[in-house]
Amino acid sequence: MYRIGLEAFRFEERDAALYRLDPRAKLLVAFIYMVLTILVNSQAIQLLITALLLATLLLLGRLGRKLVKNLVTLAPLMTLVFLANYLVSGDPMASLLPTQKLLNLVMSLNTFFLTTNPDDFAITLEKMGMPLTITLAFSLSLRFIHVLARVLTEIVEAQLSRGHRLDTGGITTRIRNYTAILIPLIIISVRKSISVAETLELRGFREGARHTPFTTMKIGFWDVIYVAASLSIATALLIYGGAVETALLEILTRHLEYMAI
């Protein structure tokens, strides 16, 4: 149970349409969906957004298994959001809305982060005018979060093997047990970051140096289609939201009546 798994959030190469799209197009679409999710306050339409995002991730990204892991990992957080809202409002249906929004925000981000490798993410940021130091910091941290997650697992293993019990005892024992994890983690992280800084120097990186990225990016036909389709859906939902909601509710109620009968 102690294995620290970030696998569900990690980019893995895959042969699917979504992976081949330009990162800028994907980032834009993720952004469109996020804005839409934040603006829309109808639960029915949120449900529709969930369906759209699911279709994108499953059909274009072939991300079924990964998405399940991803959402299972986030389930406790979503439950927490739901419970917190329920405690305040006392209305279970109304408390569902923030949870739905969280779910849709996460899935919007997934359409970008699960399908874009950190290098391309860095280039995207660079193209948007961010300095190289910052974009490198982004891609390196994404890479090293996983390295550190593994180090953390190994530290926990080493301490368990020394007879440490991580979740028992009084406050003082617990604090002592956590320092046993934190101290090596901090020291190893510092060592690793020094080593990475060394690597950057040795590989010719200089602040403010002229930089020509090795990978070039080109907006293609499908990128335009992807953005245009998402944009039109979003606009339609924002403008005709009321009508869509009524239609959706009608379909839903009819289904429910049908099932009731």
Binding site: F11, N117, D119, S139, R143, E198, H211, T212
Partner: protein, 265 residues
């Protein structure tokens, strides 16, 4: 100029350290030769490599005196980035030397700062990958590679700059013996005759047949420079902290016994 590296009376003490890491090092490395730098852990091997690559004094601060000249450049006055074009430095843990997610981007990284076009970068990267026999890794993600593959990728990422010298720091630590053998045949076939190789490793048995010259360093002082065979004779007579391969120890000791007591005693 015959030497690629010439070091004169080099002393270094890390900031905050009690003792000097290097004490009066004098050393010349000739072009096109293979060197093995041995010594117990903590004897100053990596510090010496840092002095050649410019990490000392530019990256690690401390008390620095003496002079290191690499390919005609005074290290203390040349930026690390410039020195990296002459000396490729493979450090201990390959994982910390990988910056990018994609193999080809990792290898091309150093080229991105040299004002080349994308086509030129791609041509160089493909050539180096082909030479090292890792063309099939193009497009792979770096964290799915095995230890041996990762090491080749890191070596490739240095070779794109066509350095005149390579330093490998403890290359055997993360590899199986067979992978070390593969690395050696790779160095044999690929590294051009004119380039200099400095291997830092405490495993004498892996490298002793591979190098021309052994440099033995102990507590920051160079104790021996010369052929591998003579090093072992020298070590037989004094206290040392090295792992001498069993068969060499045995033959050396037998010789001693025969010499001092005669065959019949």
């Amino acid at each position: 100029m015959k030497e690629i590296v010439s070091i004169e009376n080099l002393e270094f003490k890390y900031l905050g350290a009690r003792d000097k890491a290097l004490r009066g090092i004098d050393l010349r490395l000739e072009r096109g030769r293979r060197y093995l730098l041995v010594g117990a852990s903590g004897s100053g091997k990596t510090t010496l490599a840092r002095c050649i690559t410019g990490l000392i004094p530019h990256f690690y601060q401390g008390e620095y005196s003496g002079e290191v000249v690499v390919d005609g450049m005074k290290v203390s006055e040349t930026p690390i980035q410039r020195l990296a074009e002459t000396v490729g430095y493979l450090r201990q843990n390959p994982e910390e030397q990988v910056l990018m997610t994609k193999v080809e981007r990792e290898i091309a990284f150093s080229l991105e700062f040299r004002g080349l076009t994308t086509e030129e970068m791609e041509r160089i990267t493909r050539r180096v990958m082909e030479n090292l026999g890792i063309s099939h890794l193009w497009g792979r993600t770096t964290d799915t590679l095995s230890g041996g593959e990762l090491q080749k990728v890191v070596i490739a990422s240095m070779l794109v700059l066509e350095p005149k010298m390579l330093i490998l720091d403890e290359p055997s630590a993360y590899l199986s013996p067979m992978a070390v053998k593969n690395l050696q045949s790779l160095l044999d076939t690929y590294i051009p005759g004119q380039s200099t190789l400095l291997v830092i490793d405490h495993r004498l048995d892996y490298w002793i047949g591979f190098v021309d010259t052994v440099i033995y360093i102990d507590r920051g002082v160079v104790r021996y420079t010369g052929s591998p065979g003579r090093l072992l004779n020298l070590l037989g007579s004094e206290e040392h902290r090295l792992n001498i391969p069993l068969h060499i120890r045995l033959s050396h000791d037998l010789k001693q016994v025969v010499n001092t007591r005669g065959v019949n005693s």
